[in-house]
């Protein structure tokens, strides 16, 4: 449903609202015949429904259209950029999921003590800051003053895995900070609830060691809501990628959309956004699946 709505929005936003596409590309002084010819080549003089159908059915078959600016198929650009973004997002996720959960768990185990205050307040503060603000401050500290990390994410050609990783640390940090607060907060409140529950009390009273109680009984229940939050943050992460990739001049899907929007390259823009929508839908599905795997009370299928 979201995908369908998104596709309509993208289509309307990208193709209908700007008016005359040929005119927009060729400029106000171009010959009207040239404009008409271009519109005909691009197919934007057909009825709306036909355009939408043509576009969406081609997209499903992997044909994303031809870039207005590069005059070549869009798909390779989008796939390339998506791969780059995945790398960046993966680094941020690999860092933030364990550390965020750990932060929340530590905070909950030290409830209302100074350590909890520091983690909760600190997490809340960094979460509400725009990525480009934390990004700028981190660049200043680690890139300009300490000179530990490169200030741009564009690694040299043929860079190996670890070099790429080295270049990705700084860009992933702002994303890390924003997500850290959410994940730590969910993990914390999940833990508090689980620690407070009857089954935890029973486990303690039957004499299980504290470590076993935490690992076997508390954590598993506490982390369920956290997984949902992590999945919903994917959509958010994508918005963050647009900003971070622009700031660090990184060739990802975010900067692809940004550049396409600036250059009014509609096929590129539409394909980029729709691709993101698909990634988001898949992430939500994966989260539902993980949730049901981890939660013994929900079982999909007929193994009851």
């Amino acid at each position: 449903m979201t995908l369908f709505l998104l596709s309509i929005m993208v289509f309307l936003g990208g193709q209908v609202l700007p008016g005359n596409v040929g005119r927009a590309i060729l400029g106000p002084f171009a010959d009207q015949r040239a404009v008409d010819a271009l519109n005909h080549t691009l197919g934007v003089d057909r009825p709306l429904l036909a355009q939408y159908w043509g576009w969406i059915s081609n997209f499903v078959q992997g044909d994303m259209g031809t870039s207005y600016i590069f005059r070549s198929p869009v798909a390779p650009f989008v796939i390339d950029a998506l791969g780059n973004s995945m790398k960046l997002a993966a680094v941020a996720f690999v860092l933030v999921v364990p550390i965020g959960i750990l932060g929340g768990v530590v905070a909950a185990l030290n409830l209302n003590r100074p350590l909890d205050r520091i983690i909760s307040l600190g997490g809340l503060s960094v979460t509400v800051l725009p990525e480009f603000v934390t990004g700028i401050i981190l660049i200043l500290i680690f890139g300009v003053w300490l000179r530990w990390l490169p200030i741009s994410a564009a690694w040299p050609r043929d860079a190996g895995f670890f070099t790429q990783l080295y270049y990705l640390i700084l860009p992933s940090l702002p994303l890390f900070l924003v997500l850290f607060g959410y994940i730590a907060r969910m993990a914390r409140s999940g833990m508090i609830e689980a620690l407070d529950s009857d089954y935890t009390r029973t486990a303690v009273l039957k004499g299980l060691p504290w470590r076993t109680v935490i690992w076997r009984h508390v954590l598993r229940n506490a982390l369920l809501p956290t997984i949902t939050v992590i999945a919903t943050q994917t959509g958010y992460l994508i918005g963050g990628l647009v900003v971070i990739e622009t700031l660090f001049r990184y060739q990802g899907i975010g900067s692809l959309i940004f550049t396409a929007a600036r250059g009014k390259d509609f096929p590129m823009l539409e394909s980029g956004i729709l691709t993101i929508g698909i990634v988001y839908a898949v992430a939500t599905l994966v989260a539902d699946f993980l949730y049901s795997v981890l939660n013994p009370r929900i079982r999909l299928g007929s193994d009851q």
Binding site: N112, P130, Y236
Partner: protein, 292 residues
């Protein structure tokens, strides 16, 4: 969030107070709220009267003194065409503090109306509208903004409308769940028995009772609106030059960051950070005061 709230109602106070006064005094006792509110107040003062106490004209260039590091003459240094960064940071609060609250206001009005209608009628209206709103919520604001701005062009109005409409579904969801609880109460049934119109029941009977959650959601959204406006300005899709807006200044100057001209971006970044944190602390205080 409730952990950092420091208030509790005083049991020894027996004087009768209206609910609004109660909330007001509870806010005054909240350290979180007071700290946040002071920061916001400071920036509002800068937005209103900044020109009168800024040492220089924020738009006046002075090429000879371009990119001067911070000194006693220019506290925060000067930017690439010699404009005083200190004065720009002070006056730079103006645009974001106009656009973000207006966007929040639009979101609140639209969201409240949608929430009342979906919560009150339920059924088919609710299903259809809620599905569409859910779909909208899944799309990041930055993406919606990109599309809208490509289609409609850049202006403050576009930014206000985009952010306002993107946030409306979130407020609608909050209002809807509050209305769902309210509509089961007797006063709603009484109004329906009196054959009051649906509009009257929604806006005159139910609305006053769902104000607290709306207020909380609005203050929280204001923080996100500032986040979004700053981000859009940084991307070049928000507030336009020659405004000394913070996000815009950072976007103009961060290209030279490798050259060590840290003062052209650091103070703007800190200004945004302080404003966003201030609004969020205040929102946390409001949340605490209304949920006591």
């Amino acid at each position: 969030m409730s952990t950092i709230q420091t208030t509790s109602s005083t049991p020894d106070d027996t004087r009768p107070r209206g609910p609004l006064a109660e909330v007001f005094f509870s806010l005054l006792r909240s350290r979180t709220f007071l700290v946040g509110f002071s920061i916001v107040l400071f920036w509002v003062a800068c937005a209103l009267f900044g020109e009168h106490f800024a040492p220089y004209d924020p738009l006046a260039d002075d090429i000879i003194n371009a990119l001067a590091p911070p000194s006693s003459e220019h506290w925060f240094g000067t930017d690439q065409i010699g404009r005083d960064v200190f004065s720009r940071v002070i006056v730079g609060s103006r645009d974001i503090l106009t656009v973000a609250p207006l966007a929040t206001l639009l979101a609140t009005v639209a969201g409240t109306a949608l929430g009342l209608v979906t919560g009150y009628f339920r059924g088919l209206v609710d299903d259809v509208v809620s599905r569409i709103l859910e779909a909208f919520m899944a799309i990041p604001v930055v993406i919606v903004a990109l599309l809208a701005i490509v289609a409609l062009g850049t202006s403050k109005t576009t930014v206000i409308v985009v952010i306002g409409l993107s946030f409306a579904p979130i407020i609608a969801r909050t209002v809807r769940s509050a209305v769902l609880a309210e509509r089961e109460l007797d006063y709603v049934a009484a109004a329906q028995l009196r054959h009051e119109s649906a509009l009257h029941t929604m806006f005159v009977e139910i609305l006053p009772n769902v104000i607290p959650p709306i207020l909380v959601e609005t203050t929280v959204r204001l923080g996100y609106a500032i986040f979004a406006v700053a981000t859009l300005s940084f991307m070049g899709f928000g507030i336009q030059p020659p405004s000394p807006d913070w996000g815009l200044s950072i976007s103009n100057n961060y290209g030279m960051i490798g050259g060590g001209f840290w003062w052209t971006v650091l103070f703007d970044a800190l200004a945004i950070a302080s404003l966003v944190i201030g609004v969020n602390l205040a929102a946390d205080g409001v949340h605490g005061a209304l949920n006591d």
